[in-house]
Symmetry: C2
Subunit: 341 residues, 2 copies
């Protein structure tokens, strides 16, 4: 008898997600009903947006106690009563923190083959990560050659791609990241023109030094005090790409009093928020370009793989501490048939 | 000998503009140089944005001690060594708080005749006021029929036009204004669907009651706590028109801690700031429509005229207290030739 292993939500989290917010359950798999599809989960991605899903007013229904923890996953169809999804097909969808997921298949998307790339490239280079960076830079930020682009959380999965895409567009790119190693990585390995270590230097002073002609495009992954600092240096007709979490709270948990919001008017700034789920139709345009840029050595990505479903809640800590190096992914199970592609 | 009367800036203001921030000067007019134009100032407008002009990082060079106080004015050319501007021509430009203005004429725009309307209609219905309301609603806010539009400072010059234009576009329009008389005026006289008296009721509760389906477009004239409140109710793909002053400070002078900025992402909101000076090319499109709507009785405007240059600094108090009824305008001098048109 096959058992399904799951992490359920044990309580409404307060502050960052903690292992004690989840509870482990093992239960036998039910026989598969008519029209249904059973998927074996291969990879789950861990992301700061996981925390947002507990909030009312998020872009998805809020998670509640007793739910399987939500996650975007890659899986392989193991058993199917749906002729559109044959066993062995590699799919993506919100399968969650569990070893087996069952649905009618309407929530699953078949993944294209990526010759020469591991399955995890879907998460590190394509998928929501790649689409967010692509859409944010190419469609919203629209940097012109020679313009100055600032990216926050620049060593993160989206930020590192966004900065590299802005470089491909011919912009001068300044990344804001936490700590000397991340700053070294984005400048030396990823080709950013300069880095600001927000943990080690005054962001306002560094922006003024590194952006003497102001900031044309700000790709914002953090909100709060960093958003306020960049708004102080934004140029006329500047654009703010509001991606992912726009925090009104600083790391201390204190609300931030903005002092530069009036520049939204004075500098005729457009701030545009977006959720990548609204733009999945971009796959056809964005994926070939992202893959081409990667193949040409102009767009690097990194994944940081945690092994085993049992280790997932503890791994979240690295996410909120910012100690992961690359897109954090959990390997839930391996399968030579699907995984070796 | 003709004397020029002027209000000069006496000191850098702190808080709202006060009469003591200005000093009176009378001096004889110099003979007019080659290529120059002398204008007699008829009307000056008084506006909350006057205060913004003292700030660095505003959209115009900051005013400093010793400058003639800046104001958008209507004047009539009195003497001219510039063949393009003949005496008797009615013009508009930044002439300032003075009875005579001298320049090479490059800063002046000839005003079109408005058959059947007084000269002050340029300020109440057209000019920066009308263009700001038109551009903000028609080009940025773009409300669809049946959508919900919220306007702050709704009894003000721009806000009252913006709300009426949104009604013309078929939207449901809620105005936020201070005090029962302003709320009565925008609903009973100007056709707004409902009003929120921010001085007398909780804005968040009133928004939830009056906008049960959320807010699609917010025409923001105030920023701060009201912006934050409306962001709490903004719908997916909502639009914020950031017009004029977007305050980060409340009336108390305290910075506001925003709690709903994350909705800019969660609700995929676009916030766009603009300065009407960038859109003066809209005159050809907007003026005929504004005049037609006014002639058809669908768009009312109000002006509140203060008499005499000497009374201008004291009149500013009414602006910051919000006790003016309609666009506040100072009559600097009268001329039957120009004024009676």
């Amino acid at each position: 008898m096959t058992v399904n292993q799951q992490w359920l939500i044990a309580r409404q989290p307060r502050g960052p997600l903690r292992p004690s917010d989840f509870t482990w359950r093992e239960s036998p798999l039910e026989p598969l009903g008519p029209g249904m599809v059973r998927t074996r989960v291969l990879y789950a991605w861990l992301d700061p947006t996981n925390r947002v899903w507990f909030s009312r007013g998020s872009y998805l229904p809020p998670l509640v106690v007793g739910d399987v923890m939500r996650a975007v996953c890659i899986g392989v169809v193991e058993e199917s009563n749906n002729p559109a999804l044959q066993p062995g097909t590699t799919v993506t969808g919100f399968m969650g923190w569990q070893t087996r997921s069952t649905s009618d298949g309407s929530d699953l998307t078949v993944l294209p083959e990526l010759p020469g790339l591991p399955l995890t490239a879907h998460f590190g280079l394509l998928s929501h990560i790649g689409l967010a960076a692509y859409h944010g830079v190419v469609d919203i930020g629209r940097p012109q050659p020679g313009q100055t682009v600032v990216v926050s959380a620049a060593a993160g999965a989206v930020g590192s791609l966004a900065g590299q895409i802005a470089k491909i567009a011919g912009a001068r790119v300044i990344g804001i990241a936490g700590g000397p190693e991340k700053c070294r990585r984005i400048t030396e390995d990823l080709g950013f023109d300069a880095a600001i270590d927000y943990k080690g230097e005054d962001v306002v002073a560094a922006l003024r030094r590194l952006c003497p002609d102001g900031v044309d495009v700000y790709f914002d992954n953090v909100g709060g005090a960093v958003l306020d600092a960049v708004l102080g240096e934004i140029n006329d007709f500047g654009r703010v790409v509001a991606c992912g979490m726009i925090g009104e709270y600083d790391e201390s948990g204190q609300g931030h009093v903005f002092t530069n919001l009036s520049n939204l008017v004075n500098r005729r700034t457009t701030l545009q928020g977006f959720i990548v789920l609204d733009h999945l139709d971009l796959v056809e345009v964005a994926y070939p370009r992202l893959l081409d840029w990667h193949a040409a050595g102009r767009l690097q990505y990194a994944v940081d793989v945690v092994d085993g479903l049992e280790n997932v809640p503890a791994a979240l800590g690295r996410l909120f501490e910012g100690t992961n190096s690359g897109k954090l992914i959990a390997r839930i199970s391996t399968d030579e048939g699907a995984d070796a592609r």
